[in-house]
Amino acid sequence: MARLIVYYAHPGHKYSHVNKYMARAAGAVDGITFVDLYRDYPRFDIDVNVEQRRLVEHDVVLFQFPMFWYSTPSIIKEWEDLVLEHGFAYGAGGENLAGKQMMLAVTAAGPDDAYRHEGYQHYPIRTFLTPLEQTARLCKMHFPAPYVLYSSLKAPAAGLVEPHVDGYVRLLEAIRDDRYDFAAAERMNVVHFDTLPVGEEG
């Protein structure tokens, strides 16, 4: 069993269309750790010792958040700034995260085809996520393809919330049960609820 921790961050939790359902479902999955960062640290006073201990005690670290201005909600940046200390996460003696997985589950308001050089977002979504990808690399962590939902604001009308949430639960359970094919995921660009590289049951 892989030890999985989900960090959820959404400052406008109650206005969310998709993330709050994902969070609720993730919180109900047995045998994983679920952390709502804005709930634990409403005043941003992140407890570095607690967080580092959590990282040490888990094999897979998954950040779930909506993309805001091509980046994470601010608390995740604060968390990185404080928790990923030199000597803990990287640099001399900073081997604590080596070999672990850092995964993302993000929602984006723009449609799939906007995240192309011809599209209005001009760059593929992975480009916007490179700061996290490189963070993982510096910490000697793996960075499998992120779990993505495009056109998130339209998802309720399009009936895509439920399959995305179900897919999220399958993803989390697969990771927990060592059925998630990280090697395959690392070769992929992004994963969706219908392209999850999940192995056979059992």
């Binding site: 400052p11 409403p42 909506p66 209005y120």
Partner: protein, 651 residues
Amino acid sequence: MDGFLLLAFLFLAAGVVAVPIASRLGLGSVLGYLIAGIAISPLLQQLHVDVVSIQHFAEFGVVMMLFLVGLELEPRMLWSMRDKLLGLGGLQVAVTAAAIMGIAMLLGQPWSIALAVGLVLSLSSTAIVLQTLNEKGLMKCDGGQSSFSVLLFQDIAVIPMLAFIPLLALPELADMAVASAEHGGEGDHGSMSLVERLDGWQRALVTVGAIGLVVVGGSYLTRPVFRFIAIARLRELFTAFALLLVIGIALLMIVVGLSPALGTFLAGVVLANSEYRHELESDIDPFKGLLLGLFFITVGAAIRFDLLFANLGGVVAMTLGLIALKALILYALSRIFSITGADRWLFTLGLAQAGEFGFVLLSFTVASSVIPTALAQQLLLVVTLSMLLTPLLFIIYDKLIAPRFAATGSRQADEIEEQGSVIVAGHGRFGGIVNRILLSAGFKTVVLDYQSEQLEVLRKFGIKVYFGDAMRPDLLHAAGIGEAKMLVIAIDERESATELVRYVTENYPHVYIVVRALDRHHVYELWNAGARDIIREHFDSSLRAGRSALEALGVHPYDAERQVRGFVLNDREQMYQLASVFNPDIPAHENAEYVEKTKKFLERYEQAMRGTSAAFGSRLDRGWVPPSLDDVEAEEQAAESGQREDGETPT
């Protein structure tokens, strides 16, 4: 009685008229009193006033002054200054005294008189120099600091000098003194002493015992006594006790045959670390000031102008010679101690005069039959004249020397002002936390509180607290409001806090005030009094309670946080607006503007409570509210059709 009132009126009037004029002319208060004395001396002669006996009475001001000097001297501070104090100060006094003694002996004086004259003239004028340095803002520069060290050493050196001078007594002068004492029946000074008939070893024992009594009593007895007095809650009782303390110690010292100045100085040092230091300081200070003023007036009144005019050339020559000699020695010392540039000249010229302690020592030397009266009269003129010339020396420094060094740029950069301290008035639950936070961040604080039970407890925890009512301007002054950066007002009395704000904003506009308000109306009163950083005492805890309640009701903690922040923003805006129309002279309900604004806010409250407006948190929530689906479609189409947008909307 009438005679006493007339005399008191005369002395006070002379001082009140002359001192401000002297200060305006840059001559300092000491010279002002001297001039006042000179001015009224014909009147005093007409009235047949015994100036010398008044002077003896006024000398008690010196005893008080040394008590205050002692209070200012924490042993730790003395230790940190020891190099400059002993080196610079010690050499200045020793070399100057020796040089003057040598010259006096060359002029044919016997060695004992020459030595006494050397000691008297080696001192400089603490009163004039410190006041001038403070006024010109030169205290922190190297020259100012060095001057201060020397003056401090001189002040302390006066004590052993007072003890030492009687040993130089000339037998023939002493005989004359005894004879005149027998005639005048003025022998009470001697008869007070209990140790005269004792053997040497018994005398030593009594002396050690008396000093021990002062040290031990000062350390252990003052606190319970103060606590006892505090029960009565009468301010004048503290003054009475402070006077009692000083007079009692002086008496004890006289009884055992020691210098009263030494005893009170010692008591001052012992009490320098006590929480009652500022209280004692501000109680004694006015008496010291008045008595010293009286002392200088009597010195002025006793100046023999007939002597001056009889020997004008001689006195002027001696004065100029003295200033030149002292300046020369100071200059040499400044080279040895590498005081450079303009600082060297400040040091050299600033301390070249003789000082007010010279008067004290002179009258003491005459009383102890060390110096003949005629010579003392001449020296008095020399000391006075040299002090009169001091402002001139400072003018030379200001106009000729400082600009030169400033122009060539060789003057050292001024040292950065040391971190101004914070005064915390009231060390209860509120002020205590503020104080702890300030201390933990490394700031220096002076805490004032007047509940002695509270003080006892705090002292045990090693917190430095002083006894005193922050409402007293003199105490606030003693606590250093003049140099303080900030005043934290956490006293319980509502009106007192407001008054304190008004007083400090008017008199010390440089002091930043943080003040606790008891309620909303108190906020308006404080605002009106000039405070701008006002903290309601229960506001923050109420907010946290509200937040806790929201969280317990299932509101997401971050939403609860923003809800409360929104409430604060809204409330603050309301406070500003109401404070601006609040008028302490009009009851709130008769203030039309105030009532109007309050009504408007109440309406908004009601809407918020019914949930018909976006509640208080709206301003903080705006960023997270996603656009409507229609907006999204329209924007996407616009973007697709070539109008690039860089924004991303939240999901």
